[in-house]
């Protein structure tokens, strides 16, 4: 992994999402947004282990995955702004995104819905003899959906080149994992189902990358599905731009503990310890700020979509 690149990628996700959060109150982004702030290392670490032609599926919390896989930032923001130049021409918004050129194969908000799709894409890759790996991101809560288990079973049966990535951020909306699952590790279930399993500190991009690389190498050599459970934490509210610790659903101090192991800052600290590190960070910040400003302008200037086009999207 190119550590600087990974850092840059995380920083970019962070700054993009912060910018979304900052501007959300303007009420020009009129769709639900689920921010990944605090969870950037998972998306970036996993995608760093993938090739461009590999595919990624995601869920309601898609921005980080989309960007880490190389999705077009301008098209993403324009989509969130509901414009014709958005990646789905305004049909999708933040919760339904795609960038086929980047191998970002789709995100939709029904939890668990993309997990079997990813398995199907991996199946197609195998049937077509393509040397292609598919990764799918989902949360701890999503692991409770039966369809995830059906998907894992099929993937293990057919030894498909699929990487299941569980972002265990301890919560599904406001529900803590202990209110939804018994006390046993998620990855243990996947192991019992026949996956090669890995765990990683989801706030350490290098750690995520390391297990991903190993997992993906196994996939390319036909060893059957792999499952990575990453421990991480969402800083903001489940849906929307705000902090919500005031609501009291998380134990006191929990957020602060996780903020103290910020994935972006952790990587930055590592870089700062290197010669030129500080300069590098500064230049990344600048470049990203410029790119973001550009992208928001692109989105805000985007033409409005036309309702008359909608029926044509329905059938081929």
């Amino acid at each position: 992994m190119n550590f600087e690149k990974a850092f840059g990628s995380m920083l970019r996700v962070r700054r993009v999402e912060e910018a979304i959060a900052d501007r959300y109150a303007e009420q020009q982004m009129r769709c639900p947004v689920h921010l990944s702030i605090g969870q950037e290392a998972v998306a970036v670490g996993v995608c760093a282990a993938l090739r461009k032609e590999d595919g990624v599926f995601s869920n309601h919390r898609a921005h980080a995955h989309y960007l880490a896989k190389g999705g077009d930032l301008k098209a993403m923001l324009a989509e969130i702004y509901g414009r014709e130049n958005g990646c789905c021409r305004g049909v999708g918004g933040s919760m339904h995104m795609v960038d086929l050129a980047a191998g970002f194969l789709g995100a939709v908000p029904i939890v668990g819905a993309t997990v079997p799709l990813a398995v199907g894409a991996a199946w197609a890759a195998k049937l077509r003899g393509e040397n292609r790996v598919i990764a799918v991101f989902f949360g701890d809560g999503t692991f409770e959906e039966g369809v995830v288990h059906e998907s894992i079973n099929f993937a293990a049966l057919h030894r498909l080149p699929i990487l299941f990535v569980c972002e265990n951020n301890l919560y599904a909306c406001y529900s803590r994992i202990d209110d939804r699952q018994p006390d046993r590790p998620i990855h243990g279930v996947a192991a019992a189902q026949g996956c090669r399993t890995f765990t990683a500190d989801g706030n350490d991009v290098q750690a995520v990358f390391d297990v991903s690389r190993e997992a993906v190498a196994g996939l390319r050599s036909g060893q059957g599905p792999a499952f990575i459970e990453c421990a991480t934490y969402r800083w903001r509210e489940h849906c929307g731009p705000n902090l919500d610790d005031n609501l009291g659903y998380r134990p006191q101090g929990e957020l602060a503990r996780w903020e103290s192991v910020c994935p972006v800052e952790r990587a930055a600290a590592f870089l700062r310890a290197m010669p030129d590190g500080a300069a590098l960070i500064e230049s990344a910040e600048k470049q990203i700020a410029a790119e973001i400003a550009d992208a928001f302008a692109f989105a805000l200037e985007g033409p409005l979509p036309n309702s008359a086009d909608l029926p044509g999207y329905l059938y081929a």
Partner: protein, 358 residues
Amino acid sequence: MRDDKKRHITQADAIREALAQALQEDERVIVVGEGVPDPKGVFGTTAGLQQQFGPSRVFDSPLSENGMTGICIGAAISGMRPVMVHQRIDFALLAMDQIVNNAAKWRYMFAGQVNVPLVIMVIVGRGWGPGPQHAQSLQAFFGHIPGLKVVMPTSGYDAKGMLLAAIRDDNPVIFIQHRWLHGIEDLVPEPPYTVPLDRAAICRSGKDATLVAFSYMVVEALLAAEALSQYGIDIEVIDARSVRPLDMPTIIESVRRTGTLVVADTAWKTGGIAGEVIAAVAETAFDALRRPPVRIALPDYPVPTSPYLVKDYYPDALYLARHIAAHLGREVPDAELAERLFRSTPCDVPQKDFRGPF
């Protein structure tokens, strides 16, 4: 009863009150669902219930819609009276097997030996870009299934009374809320009361046309009727309230008086419940119809996310009024009508111009 208290509360509060009273009056009642005990309390409809009734009556749920539905059916046939809550009706698609194959049929399959006193509360979403997978209006699915009762109250008064009736009922009831009704205030008496699960309500009498509306469309229908009344067009607005069974006697009696049937639904037009209303009237009261019946419903594609696209998607009061006037062959000054029914709020937040009560 309706006026005995003069207490205006929002529909979300009315629903919350009904749940609290049901929990209070019958210890077999439990409430379970994803997010039920959380700080937002399913748009306020379940707020505080866990604090009030404890964690052995009010439960959060894993993200397992089909399994949890089956689990609640299992509890229902074992002496409990579960109330399940889905934040969006779309999620109930995952539970269609348990709803259709078990909940609706368990009593029938076993020749009436076991009841399934289960309420499934679902919410039809709308507004602020929920998009294709989070704003469907799937009442037609449930309305097709023998063994289910399906209601879609509009007023806060009915929401409370029908929810209490549903919970006291010994059959599986699908209780469909509309997100845009939660914030509307209505006169809601505090003591527990019930409203029948199988009766439409005439919300406004009129002689020129019968406008049968479902759920939130009643709001738009009332606005349209009010505007048309300024031009001497007299619309009878019926709040269908129940999807299964449809209250055909009330609807037909009205059509016999007006000769004209318009049905306004929150769902896609083709294959929706609006068509069922029309088919049932055409079959059994054909002679009453003086002109073709009309459906006003969603276009046959999913709702997009962008507000610039949504603005043309949902038929509103103006759309209704224009179409009804044209259908009746009555001239109405269009610009004036448009001004009357000007919607001051954007298309993706609730209609401000109707504030309740019903």
